[in-house]
């Protein structure tokens, strides 16, 4: 076994190196060395089975790849699919790892979680390795191990994992297994997971067929997407990513499949994103509707309004995948963190916050659905009315805002989004039943918010709206201003705000900070916030500056990793991704930016790939 790299000898890969595999119920992150360093079971927010990404080698990993470190010559998703292909060169030959999770079970007797990985060689035999070391949960529990037939079975009470290989390989947890892959004789490895149900054995050859069928299904899904989209290839990848991050049993989009990837490497800005933010879900409604994916858009909104029912009319800042209260935030002792960024957290304390902007996003999503010719049913309309009533009552109160700051203030962005909530509710009321009294109350609130925010949220000396009442700082969230309608998109206020943010929050090139760095009461710094850059594209497209929008969008596409994936933030100096990854909000913002470019009137650009 000499020469075989053990997990603890591998240094942590840059976040940018990771690819996403998902079955729309849970997801894995795979490094460029073929190592799965993150997988939670049985769903996105479950216990980590492979947690090396933030837990170090003791948290387990599953690597399949070349025996010795080898350069990657190609890494890509197979076109319009969720199948990842990584090719290395080894001594003049090539070794390719093709892998995916099977998403569609179609009522067949299959494991709920099924991961298929196939190694194939070209140009000569290649030495490879399988390193399988599953550890469950916060304490990295080792499994009870036994063999059933040719399969390795690992058990932890109600959870069981089986590993099967063809041709047969004897794999032991924690011990690297060397093999030689010869051209024409691929090695297929199948990981099946059962939680509170019996394990289902799948022959590797049959599992491969399932992968191929799933791949065809994703291609058909992608084929339905509007062909007139600018930058269609990138947008399709973002849509696929968005769908892969949507938990199919409830249609809820998870913000990211990871916890505690740091916004500040070595620092404390490490949060658990394996939950659902209504804001992300609402932006996703717009994104899916804009490309003609009505089922997905409907599913998101229906789930959202159903999930928030228990706390209505309050809209929770975030929810679990099935609409429950997010667990209390706690730290995992002994987890070393990505690049020693501790603590590693599970749960999220932001669940208790009051975030006024959330109401605006959600009611706007409902309005977009109505505009597209889909009236709200009585239950949805009741929920929207409740949200608008709450905003009309509580808009002058301080809130944590979109950036979830610890000390509530009256954020200008939140106040504007409150205006949006009431305005869009009134527009929906044009075609839905509403009492005159309620209508008048909303109209009064809408006028009062507009007057107040124009007076107290705008700084004439900067010709820009600002971050909070009484503040002189800028806030990149205000880039949504041209979309709202509170001021005319061509007005000096809107143009001044867009220009001021672009100028003063610039992080270099197409990148923006979300607010002046470090001004959030937390220790450490952070990188440029990618969704803000896509909002700038959108703002430019909406204010008649389509050519600038297209140029900026092109630059931003260059900031994706080689697989077309984005994180939440990027280090302006190195281009490295920061924060949890891949990020639903960034991909949804990318899609919206592309839609804004598509819809912006212009004769001078033909921005097609």
């Amino acid at each position: 076994m000499s020469g075989v790299p053990l997990a603890h000898q591998r240094s942590p890969a840059p976040i940018t190196d990771y690819g996403l595999l998902s079955d729309t119920r849970t997801a894995t992150l795979v490094g460029a060395d073929g190592g799965i360093d993150w997988l939670c079971v049985p769903r996105f927010d479950g216990d980590p089975l492979f947690g090396r990404l933030v837990g170090g080698p003791a948290a387990g990993a599953f690597r399949v790849g070349p025996a010795a470190p080898a350069p990657v010559v190609e890494r890509r998703y197979r076109r319009h699919s969720a199948t990842l292909e990584t090719t290395w060169t080894v001594d003049g030959a090539r070794l390719t790892l093709t892998e995916a999770m099977v998403a569609e079970l179609d009522g067949r007797l299959l494991p709920t979680t099924l991961l298929v990985r196939r190694l194939s060689a070209q140009g000569g035999p290649v030495d490879a390795v399988v390193e399988f070391d599953p550890r469950l949960g916060a304490r990295h529990r080792r499994p009870r191990v036994h063999h059933r037939g040719r399969d390795l079975v690992c058990e932890w009470g109600s959870l069981a994992v089986s590993l099967g290989c063809a041709p047969n390989l004897t794999v032991e947890p924690g011990t690297p297994t060397a093999l030689t892959v010869t051209p024409g004789d691929p090695v297929t490895i199948v990981l099946a997971i059962a939680h509170r149900e019996p394990l289902v054995h799948v022959e590797p050859a049959a599992a491969w067929d399932l992968l191929v069928a799933d791949e065809d299904r994703w291609r058909r899904w992608a084929a339905d997407i509007d062909v007139s989209l600018p930058f269609r290839e990138s947008v399709v990848r973002s849509l696929l990513t968005l769908r892969l991050l949507t938990y199919s049993p409830s249609q809820a989009p998870v913000a990211a499949p990871t916890t505690s990837l740091p916004e500040d490497p070595g620092g404390v800005r490490n949060w658990d994103y394996r939950y659902v933010w209504p804001r992300d879900a609402s932006i996703s409604v717009n994104a899916f509707l804009g490309v003609g994916k009505l089922d997905e858009a409907n599913g998101f909104l229906a789930w959202l309004l159903h999930a928030s029912r228990l706390q209505r009319p309050r809209l929770p800042a975030l929810l679990t995948l099935d609409g429950r209260h997010v667990p209390r935030e706690r730290e995992l002792p002994g987890w070393r963190g990505y690049l020693d960024s501790v603590p590693v957290r599970v749960g999220n304390a932001a669940a208790e916050q009051h975030q006024l902007d959330g109401y605006g996003w959600v009611v706007d999503a409902a309005w977009v659905l109505v505009q597209a010719g889909h009236p709200l049913n009585s239950e949805m309309w009741r929920a929207v009315r409740g949200f608008a009533d709450l905003v009309a009552r509580r808009w002058p109160e301080p809130d944590a805002g979109i950036w979830e700051v610890r000390e509530p203030v009256q954020h200008v962005h939140s106040t504007l989004m409150g205006w949006l909530a009431v305005d869009r509710a009134l527009r929906i009321a044009d075609t839905h039943r509403l009492s005159e009294r309620q209508r008048r109350r909303w109209q009064r609130a809408r006028d009062a918010i507009a007057t107040d925010v124009r007076l107290r949220g705008f700084d004439p000396s900067q010709a820009s709206y600002v971050r909070g009442y009484g503040s002189s700082e800028l806030d990149a969230a205000l880039l949504v201003l041209p979309l709202l309608g509170v001021d005319d998109p061509g007005s000096a206020r809107v143009r001044g705000t867009v220009d001021a943010i672009r100028d003063r929050l610039s992080a270099g090139g197409p990148l923006l900070y979300r607010y002046p760095p470090g001004r959030d009461g937390l220790p450490g710094s952070e990188g440029a916030f990618l969704p803000c850059s896509f909002w700038l594209v959108q703002a430019l497209a909406h204010t008649g500056r389509r050519a600038e929008a297209v140029e900026l969008f092109r630059e931003l596409l260059g900031r994706a990793n080689s697989l077309g994936l984005y994180g939440e933030e990027v280090d302006p100096a190195t281009g490295a991704f920061l924060g949890n990854y891949p990020q639903t909000l960034t991909h949804a913002a990318l899609i919206q930016a592309a839609l804004a470019i598509r819809d912006a009137p212009s004769a001078d650009e033909g921005a097609r790939e």
Partner: protein, 158 residues
């Protein structure tokens, strides 16, 4: 058996159960909406589903009342506490067997195995209906005990 009592009081008990459940739902104790869950078996429109589901639930309640009446007849006793015990048994079966099995037969309910092709819109209830709120098992238990108590008080043991 008390056929006349069954015909009348089965509806009364089911109406009491349904009203209690809707009240609990309205005050934010649970997201379990039984008329909606049942009605979406036959129609996608939530508003129509609630109407259809209400009548389906009445019919189901009437069916279960038959079992209660039969037990009372066998025991030669019909008291509120025997009704409550039967209600407890009834809800135990509903939460541990009927609700978890529902995704297998409901055309518009997702299951924990749903994939991207699923256009189902109702989320699966999960064990004890916990996906519809942590208080769902308690609420469901209380309303079924009410159902049993009503039948125990109103049905005759013959």
């Amino acid at each position: 058996m008390d056929w006349a009592g069954w015909a009348l009081f089965g509806i009364v008990a089911t109406a009491a159960l349904t009203a209690s459940m809707i009240t609990a739902q309205m005050v934010g104790l649970t997201r379990l909406d039984l008329p909606l869950v049942l009605g979406t078996i036959v129609t996608e429109d939530p508003d129509r589903a609630r109407v259809a589901g209400f009548f389906m639930h009445l019919a189901a309640g009437q069916g279960f009342a038959l079992g209660y009446a039969a037990v009372f007849a066998v025991l030669h006793r019909a008291t509120w506490w025997i009704g409550a015990l039967l209600g407890a048994l009834h809800v135990a079966i509903a939460l541990t067997v009927l609700l978890p099995l529902l995704p297998g037969v409901h055309p518009r309910m997702a299951s924990h195995r749903s994939g991207p092709a699923s256009t189902a819109v109702l989320e699966p209830p999960g064990l004890f209906g916990l996906n519809y709120g942590v208080q769902t098992p308690a609420v469901t238990a209380v309303v079924h005990v009410i159902y049993g108590v009503v039948l125990g008080l109103l049905l005759q043991a013959r």
